[in-house]
Point group: C2
Chain length 540, copies 2
């Protein structure tokens, strides 16, 4: 049995915060639970014996009899004890009088991280002993009864330093890691954001949440798929890379507006930003064009955007694939900063500098530059050398200039220049991708730039039959701060066109997709969609 990363996956992909500048603490947690500002706060203590959470008690609760459940975070001189739950911390006064000896014994002897239930009265802290850094810092609990619910064995390390431990230790004891503020925040925020997305799609815009199967058959092209042996020897299911075919068939079925928070699978090994199974917000609509999908997504993000961030400005800017490549050297530009790539070939048409002459004499040869403002103040000879070496190492990659731009940015930020504000969210639509790319293993043949169901750009249909490599597609990517967080397209709804692209241009075995081709023939509406992923990473 294989068991490498399930503990890590408890918080799939959420353990590496991107873009957070300040370290949050339990002190700030009560605020964060009210993230969804206009909403009523949920009842966290319904159906159970506790009356309140540890994090919610304030001066307004003075005199109330409360029952709390939580973990022993800290104990001071057998007089005070700090109790913790997911909501925050509260100070408990351990009774010292003889009549409460049994309560004292329980609270003093239980090891840290043991689980206890205490009942008592909310009282003011004595004057001068308030703790303004703690949301519950004005009050404490005068305990009457206490029960040890579970004792904690001696931990292999001190929990307060746990987050500084190695990743391997955090994964091994994932349930301890999850008790930290940061992990609680991550999981709860993700849950809230996805819930708001559901409200927007389902309640406001009539989308239908439909679960599609994950035991599927192999799809031609695309990523490597996990196989699942069936009960029939020699026959296998495959775990789908996405619900692409299902959602298109749902459109043919008249479902009109579909969404799913869909589990997807790719057998491509783990990378920091990619796991073998992952989740995407999967959307498909009938009778829609690119503009419609873009407005939908802009509205979706605006609606589900955490209220403690700056509100989103929509519509997002858009840029063609060609412009992105020319200006940023990549199809997913980080537009938080400038340092654009500029074509300065014309300035060197008559140059006598030999390597520039050489470059310009090649077909489509160009000379490009990037202006690093204040570069001279920040970069020393050693830095210039490292940039030169970076360029030499990546010389044959067409995306060299884009990489060089990011490498320069890294270098400048190390020197103290502020280029990429992690609190800034620069969304960008990238459009007009090519429909096909030359196959890597045989550049004379074509493969889909995205997938074979992507519709060609209406202005380029005629080129399909003459110069297919020049056809632009109706694919669009949503890019945030230099990361692709979503992509989609208007799909082909014409069976003949789909057949021509699959059979003639891509030379695929159409039998594998005969069910889809047939469906297109029986009244398929025009349709398109998108899938979003990775977004929540940016909030953490």
């Amino acid at each position: 049995m294989y068991f490498p990363s399930w503990l890590s996956q408890l918080c799939r992909g959420l353990s590496r915060p991107i873009g957070r500048t300040t370290q949050p603490t339990w002190g700030s947690f009560s605020r964060s639970l009210a993230l969804s500002s206009q909403r009523r706060i949920p009842e966290f203590s319904s159906f159970i014996a506790r009356t309140n959470t540890c994090g919610e008690l304030r001066s307004s609760h003075l005199g109330q009899e409360v029952t709390l459940c939580g973990w022993i975070q800290y104990r001071r001189q057998n007089i005070f004890l700090v109790l913790r739950d997911f909501h925050g911390l509260v100070q408990v006064v351990i009774p010292q009088d003889e009549s409460a000896a049994s309560v004292k014994k329980i609270l003093c002897e239980a090891p840290l991280e043991s689980v206890v239930q205490v009942s008592g009265t909310v009282i003011s802290r004595p004057p001068g002993q308030e703790n303004p850094k703690m949301p519950t810092g004005e009050i404490e609990i005068k305990v009457k009864t206490a029960e040890l619910l579970n004792s904690c064995k001696r931990l292999p390390f001190e929990i307060k330093d746990f987050v500084k431990k190695t990743e391997a230790l955090r994964l091994q004891y994932r349930y301890l890691d999850l008790r930290s503020f940061q992990m609680q925040y991550n999981l709860r925020l993700r849950s809230q954001v996805v819930m708001k997305m559901r409200e927007y799609l389902c309640n406001l815009h009539g989308f239908v949440d439909i679960e599609t199967p994950t035991l599927f058959k192999r799809t031609p092209g695309g990523a490597k798929e996990f196989l699942v042996p069936s009960r029939e020897p020699g026959k296998f299911y495959s775990l789908p890379q996405s619900p692409q075919q299902f959602k298109q068939l749902l459109m043919v079925g008249g479902l009109d507006r579909y969404f799913q928070v869909a589990r997807c699978y790719r057998d491509e090994g783990s990378r920091p930003d990619r796991q073998p199974e992952f989740t995407q917000i999967d959307i498909e609509m009938s009778f829609v064009d690119q503009t419609g999908i873009r407005s939908l997504i802009e509205g979706l993000l605006q609606y589900s955007w955490p209220s403690d961030k700056n509100p989103l400005v929509v519509p997002f800017p858009s840029m063609t694939f060609a412009e992105a490549l020319a200006t940023y050297g990549t199809d997913k530009p980080d537009t938080r900063f400038g340092m654009k790539i500029v074509d300065i070939s014309n300035a060197f048409r008559n140059t006598e500098v030999r390597f520039l002459q050489d470059a310009l004499s090649k077909p489509q040869g160009t000379v490009k530059a990037m202006c690093v403002r204040e570069g001279a103040n920040y970069l020393k000879r050693k830095d210039i050398e490292s940039i030169r070496k970076f360029a030499a190492d990546h010389f044959n990659e067409c995306s060299l200039l884009g990489k060089l731009r990011l490498a320069c940015a890294d270098l400048l930020e190390m020197k103290g220049m502020v280029l990429r504000d992690p609190a800034q969210f620069s969304f960008l639509w990238v459009v007009d991708f090519p429909l096909f790319l030359p196959k890597e293993e045989n550049p004379m043949e074509l493969e889909s730039a995205h997938h074979p169901f992507t519709a060609p750009h209406p202005g380029d249909i005629h080129l399909l039959y003459t110069e297919p490599e020049k056809v632009r597609s109706q694919h669009y990517d949503l890019v945030l701060n230099g990361t692709e967080i979503g992509g989609g397209s208007i799909r082909i709804h014409d069976a003949e066109l789909q057949h021509y692209i699959l059979a003639t241009l891509l030379k695929e075995d159409v039998k594998l997709l005969s069910h889809l081709l047939q469906a297109l023939d029986y009244g398929a509406p025009p349709h398109g969609g998108i899938a979003l992923g990775k977004l929540v990473l940016f909030f953490l």
Copy 2:
């Protein structure tokens, strides 16, 4: 590649309505879309070119210029055309004047089930031509422009009779089946009910929606699992039967209130009510007891209950496992009707009837009876014979009497007696199950009646060490009209107790669960949960 049932799974388990009495039609669809009564109706036409859905137009829209998209359902004498979308039907008047020849050509020549977009004015139907059976029956559309969006090839059958076709044909052309009112209703109702459940759990009671991995390692015991070969030769993932272990670890991690609409897998072949992959509403809470879970679920069902059904009455009645077996001969009694099983042994203590004497002389021998009221009026000699034969055929099954009760009910209903009203919802909690059962293959050994993490009944803990077979558990089932629609338990949170049950009583290899045992040692809170499935089937 294996590809048996994915089309059927597009509507996982929703193709066999249980309990519906009247066949719904497009006419009733507009009503059904407003199922969630207090809510604002979603904007079904945002982001796209259409202004309205076909099903929503009324007299109040008279004079409005509208654009509709839909499928050609029906055409009459090239004068009228009925356009359909997911929302309903609307009549379109095909223009007959010369100037609109191109529009007429499009609308008259397009085959049925072709997709068209029409723009025009909402007008009254001429007096006497209103159709009161049709929600849009007071109006029709005077068309100005029409566009053929996709032509439908000749279908292999007439779509209006499609639902009467064989199951196999419906599965082959699932996208055509999905265009029917019933399938649209099923999928949309399911989406709405699950959305309301999410609102209740997430927004009202602070539950966190957490996705757990599906590439997992094998769990000891339980159903046969699908295996997924990994990249390391000889090593496999397995697809989990449920997120049981994950959710318990989340509780140890202080997540407090977890839920997930969870995909689960069992490699046990398909049955009418069971597919290899299925979905359950999966819930776990810390610091909770049985009463708490039961109240939570009663509130959940009340909140998400479709508004066109009779409101639910809570709390649901409960019954012990022993009482259910004694009174109904099954642990999932259909309590919509009586015909309870009665122990009449005492009446026969002094009988001279030989077979009764024999029965009573055996250890725990009993004589039981069931009163079929008015049976003499309904059942003829032939029926009595068939009951006798049924009893003889099932004689050695201990659940004979429960089966006999249902067989009698079937027979009585065939004769016209009304016993089980499909519109009635009789919920029942069944509690106090045994913790262990004798192993089928070796009755001297024990196996878990449910799973090894189920906590023993507090009143029976002492029996664990002396007569474990007599220990009751803290498991509970939720039964609706004779079907188990949910089950759960308070879990063991004590590592020592869990180890004793696994190693000593169940003789499992504890190494396979060492991660869970260790987690229980590091401050696991008391916790319990439940999983619900199949429920939506009852609404359809």
